[in-house]
Amino acid sequence: MQYLIIGAGPAGVNAAEALRRLDPDASVRIVGDEPEPPYSRMAIPYLLMERVDEHGTHLREQADHFADRGIIVTQGRVASIDPAAHQVTLHDGSRLGYDRLLIATGSSPASPPIPGIDGPNVSSCWTLADARAIAARAVSGSKVALIGAGFIGSIILEALAMRGVQLSVIEQGERMVPRMMGPQAGGLLQRWCESHGVAVHTGVSVEAIEAKGVRLAGGRFVEADLVITATGVRPNLGLLEGSGVKVEQGVLIDRHFRTNVADIYAAGDVAQGLDFCTGSYAVHAIQPTATDHGYLAAVNMSGRVAEYEGSVNMNVLDTLGLLSCSFGRWEGVDGGEHAELYSPDDYRYLSLQFEGDRLIGANAVGLFQHVGVLRGLIQRRTALGEWKDRLMRDPTRLMEAYMATTQVI
């Protein structure tokens, strides 16, 4: 059996390792196009903060980790797939065969059509190569403008601020992290950033990027030596052209990670998979989903049947020391109920969304103990019973509710 995995990110690597365990005799190969050993994009902010060096971003600590396990890691860029021949073609023209193929090509930053976005003073923050370029230019005292204060933008925000740059953030939405948190929580983040010396412009779009900075709609000008964009991602689908693999926002997969084409699977940022909370198919573009995908896709590829229940969309964010998180259907559903605490003086916010007596989503600012039980309660679909009423009255009693309904106490 030959397993071929395209993409050496978290989804690909987790899949390869699982395949090796599940099918010890098979050939397992990853083809990735980046020059470095498999690394994690998520670690880039910490590289910029100088908490780790490049080795610290590697997905696996030991250099011989993959070789030791008989996993072949090849550098190369897959240009196209030929399902009929069960082969892929690399950019250099070479071909690799497969019995089962996993597409784990991740996503790339989407650049909006802003004049000047291709200028030399503009960079995204996506790859180690980007990180090196940013590190060279975003030095203490320099002026940096960050376009986009979504989830990833906000993570980059922290890294930049910690480098001691003069930072301005521009977000088109009405608030920071508009797709992760509601107005009150987003407002807390903004006020916190501002009180920590970061200029935050929300509800305003960028008209143009110029040599000396960013021109905002309405005429305001934000000076910047360096402009960093974090304006969303789009899945890397180019290699699928002509393959017959069906795509929407990403590669459409079923509950067994299969695409519509036999023996081709997909996982991670590139995949449009089942969302646990909504029951529909969506691209999450987050690390936990990518690793869950990678692991469970491998189980299915190995011939076992594992029906996927879907991933919970979730994020945790540290914005200059202010922690926030979001889970599942944080915005609630029709007919659901909602418990909320808002303590602006203390930068704390907690919101729980219920459907019946089950938790379906949550947002929190300032919560950093036992946060994972929010996922646990959502993903178990735990019937909370009377604890639902107690949580409605006092949502801080989350941990007790969790334990009382899931543990032997």
Binding site: L341, S343, D346, L350, T396, R397
Partner: protein, 616 residues
């Protein structure tokens, strides 16, 4: 070290919080908590000041072992001038807030002045600020606790709070922490409320370190834990029955004050005893006691967690009282039950809940109700005064009603909130007040346990069992058995217990450890934790110094030595049954020797030599 060496000073008048260094010279002389805070109080306030005026200060203090792994090392005390006694007040509490204060980096918090508006103090590590208490003033401790936890969205926040009784001026209001632990006695809660300070909410995540000899400390701590585990009282008795283990013991020896201390044995004692709390009740098959509970770091775990029978008249239609909360301790069961002649366990448990919920000292409350019942019996109080409540001894409904009224400061509850002394004076029969220096008695009749008479008479905070618990020796044989009916040797016994207790309190430990621990077990823990040499002798010397300082404060506050006495009843009316039948307390046989042992003059004054010896 073990001290954090930092004090938080809160000026309520001006709304400021400032950090200052702990006076280490004083710490070396007074160790911490009770002793050290008394030193601060006695240096900083005029002992003659109005206890409920802005010139009084209120100190929340931890000891060097508070917040460490030393068993029971979670204690803190509230030190101030008492409105009940006019003397120094030091009320000790377990629970968790003491350790939390220490974890936040503070040895003590000193409150001074008076806030113009109701406020609470919020402490998160180094950060401390006063915040408006507009939304919790007028609320019970339990309500305020929930509101504050929600407001700060922090389930780990530890809260000490006063209830409505304190706001209404009840003179024995407590400071309740962690819902059902309390710095209970002497009206420390009344002082807190008089300063418009409703609550103190603390979150500490810094940790307690500064251990001088970490390895030695852990060895001493582990050895100490083993001694507690191996001892029958601290290893088993207190966990199973709590302090309520004493109810049947003390009643059996006819040393159980009953009917406002007229009698010494209570027919209904068994029904309200620790054993009874284990009996399944007919209604739901559950016992009163759900479990035992430990305070911070405590390996004894004497705490009671109880429920009231849902069908009981006191809580019918009040589902908010159907859950578990702090159950009856011996002193509460005695004061609310035996002293009033009430043998209804559920009523007592409910009233105990109310005492926690609205911050009333159940000993003083129960004793005051007992006094009121005797005044009622004597015709000095009538149903006109009580608003129609029949105050006959044994009336559970009356007790429940009075608890509800006193908690809110309404109706006849205002009179009950005066305490026994002022109540009996008000109704013209001061001799019916069973108090020393204005504070109500606890649960050991000094006619049947002679040494306790001396301990009560000389206690620096008025009648109290926690200042010199000679019951340990006279009843339980710890460390050696002495005859409870004999007066010889009791002066020395009382002094030894008083000094040792002052040292134990000041270390931040619980005095219940001394059922098993002697100073030989305690000193090594302090010695390893703190810099300097803390031998047994030094600990006892510190204890004695503290005792003299408290006495000195009281004398300066206007106390006279003739207040070192007991109510007439205990000196003149003989016990009616039991081994002590025919006996009164022979205080006069013990007091002169006690003064002499203390190095005080025959008229109870601290002599210049003694002052010099302790640097007072």
């Amino acid at each position: 070290m073990a001290w954090t060496r930092k004090i938080l000073r809160v000026d309520l008048t001006n709304g400021t919080c400032t950090a200052e260094a702990l006076n280490m010279a004083w710490a070396n002389e007074y160790l911490g908590q009770r002793g050290l805070a008394t030193k601060y109080l006695s240096e900083e306030i005029d002992p003659k000041c109005d206890p409920l005026g802005p010139d009084n200060k209120l100190i929340m203090a931890t000891g060097p072992l508070t917040g460490t792994m030393a068993s029971t090392g979670g204690r803190y005390s509230v030190i101030t001038k008492s409105p009940l006694t006019g003397l120094v007040a030091c009320s000790n509490s377990g629970g968790f807030i003491g350790a939390e204060m220490k974890n936040a980096g503070w040895d003590m918090i000193i409150f001074e002045g008076k806030s113009p508006e109701p406020v609470y103090l919020y402490v998160e590590n180094d950060g401390a600020e006063l915040r408006s208490a507009a939304d919790i003033w007028g609320k019970t401790v339990w309500q305020a606790d929930e509101i504050l936890h929600k407001k700060h969205q922090d389930p780990q926040l530890r809260i000490a709070c006063v209830g409505r009784s304190a706001e209404a001026g009840c003179l024995y209001a407590a400071v309740v922490n962690d819902l059902h632990r309390a710095a209970g006695r002497s009206g420390v809660g009344t002082v807190m409320a008089s300063k418009n300070l409703k609550a103190v909410a603390v979150r500490g995540t810094l940790g307690v370190g500064n251990i001088a000899d970490p390895k030695g400390f852990m060895d001493a701590v582990n050895a100490g834990k083993q001694v507690l585990a191996d001892n029958a009282v601290t290893g088993q008795g207190l966990a199973t029955y709590g302090t309520q283990v004493l109810m049947n013991v003390i009643n059996g020896m006819a040393a159980m004050p009953t009917f406002n201390m007229k009698e010494v044995q209570f027919a209904g004692a068994e029904k309200i005893s620790g054993e009874a709390m284990h009996e399944p009740r007919p209604s739901d098959g559950k016992p009163n006691l759900t479990t035992n509970a430990g305070c911070f770091g405590c390996t004894i775990a004497c705490g009671r967690i109880s429920t009231v029978d849902r069908g009981h008249f006191s809580v019918q239609n009040k589902p908010e009282y159907w859950g578990n909360s702090g159950g009856l301790e011996y002193e509460a069961a005695w004061a609310l039950g035996s002293d009033t002649g009430i043998d209804d366990l559920d009523a007592l448990t409910y009233v105990n809940f109310l005492c926690n919920e609205d911050g009333m000292d159940p000993i003083s409350f129960g004793s005051t109700v007992a006094a009121a019942m005797e005044l009622f019996q004597a015709g000095a109080i009538t149903q006109e005064h009580t608003g129609g409540i029949d105050l006959a001894f044994g009336g559970a409904a009356a007790l429940v009603k009075l608890a509800e009224l006193t908690a809110k400061g309404e109706g006849f509850g205002r009179d009950i909130g005066l305490g026994s002394k002022r109540l009996c004076e008000k109704y013209g029969m001061p001799d019916l007040s069973m108090t020393v220096k204005g504070q109500e008695f606890p649960a050991y009749d000094p006619r049947a346990i002679q040494g306790m008479g001396l301990a009560y008479a000389t206690s620096n905070r008025g009648a109290c069992h926690l200042r010199g618990y000679t019951v340990a020796s006279e009843v339980l044989g710890i460390p050696v058995k002495t005859d409870p009916l004999v007066t010889e040797g009791k002066a020395g016994l009382v002094k030894a217990f008083q000094d040792a207790t002052a040292a134990v309190d000041s270390a931040g430990l619980c005095v219940f450890t001394t059922f098993a621990w002697s100073m030989e077990n305690i000193a090594p823990q302090v010695d390893a934790a703190c810099e300097g040499d803390w031998s047994v002798d030094r600990m006892l010397e510190v204890g004695e110094r503290i005792w003299n300082l408290e006495r000195d404060f009281n004398m300066r506050a206007g106390m006279t030595a003739d207040q070192d006495t007991l109510p007439k009843r205990l000196l003149k009316e003989a016990a009616n049954v039991g081994p002590a039948k025919g006996r009164v307390n022979d205080l006069d046989k013990m007091l002169p020797e006690y003064y002499a042992l203390r190095g005080w003059s025959a008229d109870g004054q601290i002599t210049p030599e003694t002052r010099a010896r302790f640097g007072i």
